[in-house]
Symmetry: C2
Subunit: 272 residues, 2 copies
């Protein structure tokens, strides 16, 4: 199948970055220096000798959209970074209720050093390329070189903050606020300036993005049903907070309005 080209994520993985993977089926050949996530992933603080060492123990794997990467409880022989694409962490109850508990974007880390079975289901939402390290050599490197552990700590603290923001969304926000919050988060992370024909004055307030999620994935993210997700999206559209091109492309004419709908007191700082 053709490789998924994510034209809406120019800052993260540009088209030319992706070509490296598309045109090199032998993925192992990409050197860390040329890696699109080099400066944001777990390797961000590594010196060039450390990078060499990582380079030797790494290998690439690809996962097709919709496919599981690991199941909760499975033995995990590797850890690694998402190079391109989206993946999700989900928890499931016996009766099938499921809750998404993590969202993995390019540069995010997968797996927990020191634990050998997965705690959550991980699955690919879009096609995903991962840079993997066998667990043992990676853990050895971690205890030798502090740069990896330092970066991992920073990243984990950021994830914890994100999880706590999300807890407020799950516990206290209405369905409409939940949808607005989700859109605000996505827009913050990967919006492109929207050409909405609103004129120069409003360009800075506008944004647009492709929704990588089905209604079901959004429902699992927000603790809602797909029907409620659908209704609230329709309502936001009717009220002019967003507009849609097709079912998956969202245009936000005024980010401040969207953030207001999300009920966040964290203000326009989001747009910086």
């Amino acid at each position: 199948m053709p490789f998924y080209i994510d034209a809406d994520q120019p800052s993260v993985t540009s088209l030319s970055d992706m070509r490296i993977f598309m045109e090199a089926p032998e993925l192992k050949s990409i050197h860390c220096d040329e890696c699109p996530i080099r400066h944001r992933a777990v390797c961000a603080k590594c010196e060039s000798d450390e990078l060499e060492q990582l380079d030797r123990i790494k290998y690439y794997r690809t996962f097709e959209a919709g496919q599981p990467i690991v199941w909760a409880g499975d033995r995990m022989s590797f850890v690694g970074s998402v190079v391109s694409g989206y993946a999700t962490l989900t928890q499931t109850m016996e009766d099938g209720r499921t809750q998404m508990v993590g969202l993995l974007l390019p540069s995010d880390f997968v797996g927990r050093p020191g634990r050998d079975s997965a705690a959550y289901n991980i699955s690919a939402t879009t096609d995903v390329v991962m840079c993997c390290f066998r667990k043992k050599p990676f853990e050895d490197m971690m205890s030798d070189t502090p740069h990896i552990a330092q970066r991992l700590l920073e990243m984990t603290l950021d994830e914890l903050d994100a999880a706590r923001e999300w807890m407020l969304v799950l516990g206290r926000k209405t369905a409409r606020e939940k949808i607005a919050s989700l859109f605000a988060i996505i827009a913050r992370r990967e919006s492109v300036l929207a050409n909405t024909g609103l004129g120069v004055k409003n360009v800075a307030r506008a944004a647009s993005f492709d929704l990588k999620f089905t209604r079901e994935a959004m429902a699992d993210y927000l603790g809602l049903t797909i029907e409620t997700v659908s209704r609230q999206i329709s309502a936001l559209k009717k009220d002019g907070v967003i507009s849609l091109q097709g079912k998956r492309h969202v245009i936000v004419p005024d980010m401040y309005r969207l953030i207001d709908e999300a009920g966040d007191d964290s203000d326009g700082g989001l747009l910086v």
Copy 2:
């Protein structure tokens, strides 16, 4: 006011541990070797020379039950560990809706190295003793000695797991399951064997604990109202899942039953 004696937490801070603090108003005099959280806090992996170094930069602070420790947005000049008592992290929306996003028990770490304002409200639920380090010297030590950062990484990863479990509770569980989940978590962490008169055979399944929280705090933890919390506790009592001594002491005759009510597929392993 007299120091709060937490007789239900023998494994964490024994009565005699507490006397150290009660009888020594000049708290600074306690040496790390005698510290009740020495082997579980951020200092757990430190060698004796590192401990000496920490000893020199630490100081103790106490907070009364109900008092704020820091407000979100405030400048935070210190980081530290909870030595005894309970504290909570909460987020608040403009209109007053609040969600608890973290629970701080003895040995838990407060503050984020590298950030200088608090992201959440932190307040003391019971009387709290904290072991504090001024931020700058602590950060300097962190970059010199890997043991602190290593331990902090472990602890942060554990907190992230707890936050994700909590997200499932908030997003997908019913009110009754939420209460049962909360009780199961508390019981797991600090239950004492209950003398419920059920006979030897059932002792291992039984547990009891003091609720340190008001109904309001539980509601903020679980994303419910106080009325719903109250009703669900009454219902669990009526159904024999728990019984109460006064309003705050909970007896669980059968932990398996409680865990079943919580809807967790994570099974009896919790009791180990």
